[in-house]
């Protein structure tokens, strides 16, 4: 049974989350929660840096324009002409290596999300958990990256790639 009392459908979605930045955490939880609303069973399999989206403290999730030339970074505040500037295009790449730049870009990104009516990431994740999205941490990378089980939120399961493949042939899978 799903969170909405529907008989679990055979339609399943599996998301392999390999990235640990704030933007990709949003992509993951938005897709996961929507898929549940569309009566799919959803599993998020977090591996490598994607494990950070399962940590208790999500304040470490950040964005950075560094080595990400496609990121459009615009100011969410200020006069119109300022908000039109794509700072990732006008500033040289090394700017983003300076101290505090990641924090600044993340603050701007969060402000923009809030203006758009998007939920904070911890609330969106809590919603996914409430809706029954299954969260699985890749056991091998948990050990490789020296995580402790208590670093993760309650309800996270630990499994390996074989468990993933045991169910994935029937699923629609996304790798993000």
């Amino acid at each position: 049974m799903t969170a909405f009392g529907e008989q679990a459908s055979h339609s399943q979605l599996s998301i392999i989350q390999a990235q640990g930045t704030l933007d990709w955490a949003y992509a993951c939880f938005i897709l996961a929660s929507t898929a549940v609303a569309m009566d799919k069973e959803v599993e998020v399999f977090a591996t490598f840096y994607g494990l950070s989206i399962l940590e208790k403290d999500l304040s470490r999730l950040k964005i950075t324009p560094l080595a990400n030339p496609a990121m459009r970074l615009k100011s969410p505040v200020g006069p119109d002409w300022v908000r039109q500037i794509d700072w990732n295009r006008v500033l040289p790449g090394f700017t983003w290596t300076l101290p505090g730049m990641s924090r600044l870009a993340t603050a701007a990104f969060k402000k923009q999300l809030q203006k758009q009516g998007q939920m904070p990431i911890d609330e969106l994740r809590a919603l996914c958990v409430e809706l029954g999205v299954k969260l699985t941490a890749c056991q091998m990378t948990v050990e490789l990256l020296n995580y402790r089980p208590e670093d993760f939120i309650d309800g996270v399961e630990f499994a390996g790639a074989a468990s993933y493949f045991a169910v994935s042939p029937q699923q629609q899978s996304l790798f993000i």
């Binding site: 909405f4 009392g5 938005i30 929660s33 609303a37 569309m38 758009q116 009516g117 998007q118 939920m119």
Partner: protein, 87 residues
């Protein structure tokens, strides 16, 4: 009886999630499983123009064509969802 759900100001995926939750509650409250459910939805997320009809298709509901309207001074869109054959 028509219920109205206000999702103005909320971005994707919240309008669809709220609709799903509201429909679930309405189904639980309704006297019989066959009783038809009508839900009016107000939203401002432009993605909803396509997402809400897509959601209805999947949920086997009928969705009216989105109309532009104003609610409490805020411009928004309105659709009516129905579990019956027609609206």
């Amino acid at each position: 009886m028509k219920t109205t759900l206000n999702t103005i100001g909320l971005a994707c995926p919240m309008p669809v999630i709220k609709i799903k939750k509201q429909l679930f509650e309405l189904k639980q409250q309704s006297s019989s499983p066959e009783a038809s459910i009508v839900l009016e939805v107000l939203f401002s997320d432009k993605g909803g123009l396509r997402d809400i009809p897509a959601f209805c298709q999947q949920a086997k509901m009928v969705c009216s064509a989105p109309e532009e309207t104003v609610f409490e001074g805020k411009p928004c869109f309105k659709v009516i969802l129905s579990s019956g054959e027609t609206l």
